[in-house]
């Protein structure tokens, strides 16, 4: 069965970059805000969500991640955090929020593809 991946990213360029990095892995959906992303997770139940941490308007991807993991209907969805916050404490905060993987920007598209494939294989 084809896998579904949701990309939540407020920056147009980066949304495109992530889409190009992952499109060979399955069906790719796009969201550009926290609210839109969370609504699509609930509606589409994707296998994997790549989630930006600073989503603009002060919204945090960590909150979206916690909401996904707290809801039994979506807690099985794999979450890959993609963030330009690269300190050890940022990574720990991401994993504490329930993320399955934390990747720091800038990232290698190939590396992102491999990490996403590993998460999908485990899903």
């Amino acid at each position: 069965m084809d896998k579904t991946i949701l990309i939540v990213e407020d920056q147009d360029d980066l949304r495109l970059l992530v889409r190009l990095s992952l499109k060979s892995l399955g069906r790719v959906l796009l969201a550009s805000s926290a609210a839109q992303g969370l609504a699509m997770v609930r509606a589409e139940k994707p296998d994997l969500v790549t989630l930006d941490v600073w989503l603009g308007n002060g919204d945090s991807g960590l909150d979206v991640c916690r909401a996904i993991k707290a809801d039994p209907a979506t807690s099985h969805v794999k979450v890959l955090l993609l963030s330009a916050c690269g300190q050890q404490s940022d990574v720990e905060a991401g994993l504490d929020a329930g993320a399955d993987h934390y990747m720091i920007k800038p990232f290698s598209p190939q590396g992102l593809g491999e990490a996403a494939a590993a998460l999908l294989a485990a899903a």
């Binding site: 920056q11 147009d12 603009g56 690269g86 720091i104 920007k105 800038p106 990232f107 598209p109 190939q110």
Partner: protein, 519 residues
């Protein structure tokens, strides 16, 4: 010198009587002695290390003679009256110049006792012919010596009293004027007395003694009890705690306690210091530190974001085959994000330079505002997209003392914002006028656009580093322009007002102090 003699000399020195003026209270005693004994010479003689000095004298004109071979030197070696009936027949003195040259034949003297009993000198009588002294006369001489000793003791007492008063005045003056609060507590921790600084610190009226009788724990907090424990060392560093004024308000305080013994009673000397100011400074320092940390985190985030596009898209282009149109699109993104990165780095360096340089970093010279506006607009030529810019400058504008290039940078930042956040072809007004503001002559430079405007919330955050109103991706910018603008204006002693309405436009007014010579 025998130890006893050394002590005797020290006592004499400490009395501060040697080489003082003649005094009637001593002179009346020597006059009385001369008359009572019917002798030509009567002396109050003080025996210094190598001389005898006469505090009072009848019948001689010199104030001092050699101590060697003197009669009095012998008198002070024994307790009672010493009588030399005929010096020519006394082998101790027969060859003395007092006898052979001055013609002294008779001497009778009695030691003078200092308050501690040391024999510091004599009362003596001398005659040119041999004589004898009966018991009644010996008693009389002893009584006269007693009177002189009393006078010496009296002056010593007066001197000590005066010294104590001076000491007290000194201590009182010191305690009244030092900014630290000083309290004395009894052994139960009750305040016995306090200096004015302490009274003021705890909110009682200085000099009213309002702290006396209060429990120290009610002022210094219960923690202060530890300071009175026997294990507390007097040389321990000051301890921080919470002070409580008598109106119940609290303040941060530093307290130091030293146990002391006062006439056998256990007392505590307590020094208290109001450290509100130091605390405020520490808090402000922490806030600055927190702001720096946040700024660093945000700056890192902002730098990594364009880098993600540059690195990611270039990797895709290197590893995959795209059609020419897509390749071009991706290269365009790389180029745009690389430009953004360069812009960001330049702005960050600029901000750091301005912050680090402070006022010293400015090249201040008289700046003509009209010229400043002209330069700013010519520098912006490439950015204008059909915007109409209307400039209205008052005549006779005063010069401003400023760094022309920095000020141009600040002005460029707000004019370019007006261009970026208003539609093509819309009008931007730039005006300058000379006004009094807060009672000072100022120059006001106004930039008004008819652009998208800002909400109150956006206005409140406009000077935050990396904040971009609406975070609109379609408008280029680092989010540092307004931060740099504010930094520059404030370094020049000026400030900025922003009036904005969403949909109606934004007006930024920059206030700069006019140069005094023109104001």
């Amino acid at each position: 010198m025998p130890q006893e003699e050394a002590h005797r000399l020290q006592v004499l020195l400490d009395l501060n009587i040697l080489d003082t003026a003649h005094e009637e209270r001593f002179d009346r005693i020597t006059r009385m002695a001369a008359r009572l004994f019917d002798v030509p010479v009567a002396l109050v003689s003080l025996i210094d290390a190598d001389r005898q000095w006469f505090k009072s004298r009848v019948g001689v004109t010199m104030d001092t003679t050699d101590r060697a071979n003197s009669f009095c030197t012998h008198t002070i070696l024994q307790a009672g009256v010493m009588v030399v009936e005929d010096a020519c027949r006394d082998e101790r003195f027969a060859a003395s110049p007092f006898v052979t040259e001055a013609g002294v034949r008779f001497y009778a003297g009695h030691p003078l006792a200092a308050p501690d009993g040391s024999r510091i000198g004599t009362v003596c009588i001398l005659d040119r012919s041999p004589r004898a002294l009966d018991d009644a006369q010996r008693t009389l001489l002893r009584d006269l010596a007693g009177m002189v000793s009393n006078e010496i003791a009296a002056s010593e007492l007066r001197r000590r009293h005066q010294q104590r008063q001076e000491n007290d005045a000194w201590v009182h003056g010191l305690l009244s004027h030092i900014p630290d609060g000083v309290l004395m507590l009894d052994s139960s921790g009750t305040v016995l007395c306090a200096n004015p600084a302490a009274e003021q610190m705890f909110g009682t009226r200085a000099g009213a003694g309002a702290l006396a009788g209060r429990a120290a724990a009610s002022l210094l907090g219960e923690d202060a009890a530890l300071l009175f424990a026997p294990s507390h060392r007097a040389d321990a560093p000051p301890q921080e705690g919470g002070g409580r004024r008598i109106d119940g308000t609290v303040f941060p305080l530093e307290v130091q306690v030293a146990p002391m013994d006062m006439d056998g009673q256990q007392r505590y000397a307590v020094i208290v210091r109001d450290v509100t100011r130091q605390h405020d400074l520490t808090l402000r320092g922490r806030a600055t530190e927190e702001r720096r940390r946040k700024h660093f985190t945000t700056a890192t985030h902002e730098l990594r974001t364009p880098m993600a596009s540059i690195l990611g898209f270039s990797e895709l282009l290197l590893k995959r085959d795209f059609d020419p149109a897509t390749s071009r699109e991706l290269l365009d993104i790389i180029h745009r994000q690389a430009s953004r990165l360069v812009d960001l780095i330049n702005q960050l360096l600029d901000l750091a330079r301005i912050e680090a340089g402070g006022i010293e970093g400015l090249a201040i010279a008289p700046v003509d505002v009209a010229e400043l506006v002209r330069q700013t607009l010519s520098g912006l030529n490439g950015l204008q997209q059909g915007h109409r810019i209307r400039v209205e400058l008052d005549d006779g504008l005063p010069m401003v003392a400023a760094d022309a290039s920095k000020l141009q940078q600040a002005l460029t930042n707000i004019v370019s914002n007006s261009i970026k956040y208003s539609s093509e072809g819309s009008l931007i007004d730039i005006g300058a006028s000379s006004l009094r503001h807060d009672g000072r002559p100022m120059v006001a430079i106004r930039v008004a656009d008819r652009g998208i405007g800002m909400t109150a919330d956006q206005q409140a955050r406009i000077f935050d580093a990396f904040y971009r109103a609406g975070e609109s991706q379609d408008v280029q910018g680092s989010g540092l322009g307004m931060t740099i603008f504010k930094e520059i204006i404030e370094l020049h002693g000026g400030h900025a007002d922003i009036v904005s309405q969403p949909g109606a436009g934004t007006t930024v007014t920059v206030w700069l102090p006019a140069e005094a010579s023109h104001g």
